[in-house]
Amino acid sequence: MRHHSFTSTRFTAGFGCFLLALLFSLFSLSALAQDEPAEADSLLVTPDSIPLEYYPLAPTNVSVSDAPNDAGGSIDVQWDISPDDVPDGKVKQYRILRAELIEGQPGEFAEIGDATAGATAFTDGNTEDGLDYIYKVVAVNSLTENNEVVWEAATESMPAGPVRSSAQWFDRQRVNALVGVILLCVFIIYYITQARAGKELFIRKIAGLEAVEEAVGRATEMGKKIFYIPGISDMDNMQTIASITILGKVAELAAQHETWLEVPVCRSLVMVTAKEVVKEAHSKVGRPDTFHEDQVHYLTDDQFGYAAAIDGMVVREKPATIFFMGEFFAESLILAETGNASGAIQIAGTAAPAQLPFFIASCDFTLIGEELFVASAYLSREPKLLGSLKGQDMGKAVILIAILIGIILETFDIWSFSTLFSVID
């Protein structure tokens, strides 16, 4: 260096330039330059002057259509990705713009949504049925630092449309489910009429239900109470409804034997229903006088509060028999284990698969899954109910045959059978 003196400003400027150059080269290196000049030069770009090569190519083939099988109010937008939409490429995001068509003239385009790079479809769920819309898809390249946008370069596609959304009257993708349900109904109704006509129907033995009478009898002999726990779900659950039906039968037996049946519940609606059912059972066997309001009582809606209270009751009152019928969750084991330790006979039934192992471990008899739903037919032996069972079994037979045929067809690559059962849109 030949100059002996630097002014401080010149020095600073020179040093600054040097630093900038250093940073620049570091950035180029780290970004492995060739692929993405955009990223590399980013530091020098200001929002006002974005070089042309930063602009991505526009997405092509934008198409719009009314979304199928819905209640209206939405339009599907689809496009082919921009040629620049490659990994680490110039497209960071797509934006979807929409304008209303008023008297043939498009209004102002407004952004209605965005999609990530690589996406090819967007559903605009905010349309008004009957209006015409025009859509554009914009490919956006941008740089963000510290969560702030530094610059943005966007290219719009050709507009697509007009299109209008509308509601459909029938969901075609669900025809198969409809056919299935109808088929099942036909079976069930057919066998119900058969049964009404007096046809004898066989039903196999279910140990848990055979034991009900014996269990009630035992309580009578010992002069102790029977507890009936109808699960912790509310009346909007089929398992509870099934359980209430079984309660009716158990209450009849108990009333006949003059044994005190106690039903602590954890849902108010279940309490109301169970009270009616037990009362009805008492008058059905001609003992309305033995019914007592407090037989059915509410504890708390809380799952574990309910379990804690029943645990206490079981330990203190030592019932001879406990029924667990309905939907149970984690509290199943707390209840069943305490009941087991207190020496009661326990009969459980639930369609909650996670709880079945515990009932099997801690109870004397367990109704597994579907068996809970046949209990009312089994206990009452009413022909109509038995008929529906038979119909249910026919449904199962059809399913078995379908599985068999399906597996064969699929395995030998003859026909993609499984699509018949597809309900996913």
Partner: protein, 335 residues
């Protein structure tokens, strides 16, 4: 000494013990930690006593269930103080969640539903933290909600914890732009169903009361079609099953889930069917996921206790069976 007196003595001991350590805590004592040697000695002692019970059983004396309770208590409590290293194997279900997340481009919108309450938090909270950590680290946008009243509170706890991490802090994430908590909505599975047509109708405001349309992150999110990935942390009803039935089957979202271990087995059919992409099952799933995301939290810490508890349960199953076969031999071979 009578039983009554013994009971009172034990009560007094428990109280004194609690009081001493509580005062210690207030005075700022160090945490109790067993060294590896002490840990091994404790393990050995427990194993020996189990062997003793086995011998007793073979001799024909059955232990009562309170002894079993005692052992479970020991097996769970002591390892919390231990320092042992362990290897964690990654199961394919957990890997699937991770891979899906990895496949999401930056800026993807992830909907996380917190469908659990404090009692299930030991299992699900570690998952929530690891999941959020991954999302924030990889610049995914997170929309949180809850079908359980306490879910959004758990979400806030997790967010608070993750945001306090140095790496995430430096990202300077903004509420409303990078993540948002829509809060709780009553209505069980019907909430999901309505969200299928319109998020806003279910969540007119976020949990802070900001109107939906004023939140930048979600103002353009109309329904599930604008969500790239859904994740559900569930401990019961409503939970993953409802998300599968409605969000996946009806509205076609991509769904991953974190479940309590009880629920997890029921989700396998959904997973094989492709209705569910990936599953974190219980605390073990949480530990595996923590390992993958490199967010080491309580899931990993509790793994020693977990292993221990399993071993104790298995030991007692074996003891029970020994007793069973012994009694069978005595009474002749009857079925």
């Amino acid at each position: 000494m009578s039983t009554k007196a013994k009971e009172i003595l034990v009560l007094a001991l428990i109280f004194a013990f609690s009081l001493i350590f509580y005062i210690g805590k207030v005075l700022g004592w160090e945490a109790v930690r067993f060294s590896t040697t002490v840990s091994l000695i404790v393990i050995l002692l427990v194993a020996l006593s189990l062997l003793w019970i086995l011998i007793l059983t073979i001799r024909g004396r059955l232990v009562e269930r309170r002894i079993v309770f005692l052992y479970v208590g020991i097996a769970v409590a002591l390892p919390l103080f231990m320092t042992l290293s362990q290897r964690i194997a990654i199961s394919p279900e957990v890997e699937a969640v991770y891979n899906t997340l990895e496949g999401l481009p930056e800026g993807s919108k992830v909907l996380v539903s917190f469908d659990y309450d404090p009692p299930s938090a030991p299992e699900l909270q570690p998952m929530a933290e690891a999941f959020l950590y991954y999302c924030f680290e990889h610049d995914l946008k997170v929309i949180m909600m809850g079908l359980w009243p306490q879910g959004p509170m758990q979400a806030n706890l997790a967010i608070e914890k993750v945001l306090s991490d140095e790496k995430i802090k430096s990202k300077n994430l903004k509420y409303g732009e990078d993540y948002v908590n829509l809060g709780f909505q009553a209505g069980y599975e019907f909430v999901i169903q309505r969200m299928g047509s319109d998020f806003r109708s279910m969540f007119p405001t976020d949990y802070r009361g900001t109107p939906y349309e004023q939140i930048p992150l979600v103002k353009n999110v109309k329904n599930f079609s604008n969500i790239d990935y859904c994740f559900n942390l569930s401990s019961g009803f409503p939970g993953t099953r409802e998300w599968v039935q409605i969000a996946v089957d009806r509205f076609g979202v991509t769904l991953g889930a974190g479940n309590t271990a009880v629920q997890a087995p029921q989700m396998y059919p959904f997973m094989r069917a492709g209705q569910l992409v990936g599953l974190l099952g219980g605390m073990v799933g949480a530990a595996e996921f923590e390992f993958l995301t490199k967010w080491i939290g309580k899931g990993t810490k509790f793994m020693i206790s977990q292993s221990f508890a399993h071993v104790i349960v298995i030991a007692f199953i074996i003891i029970g069976n020994v007793a069973f076969f012994r009694s069978k031999r005595k009474t002749g071979l009857k079925r």
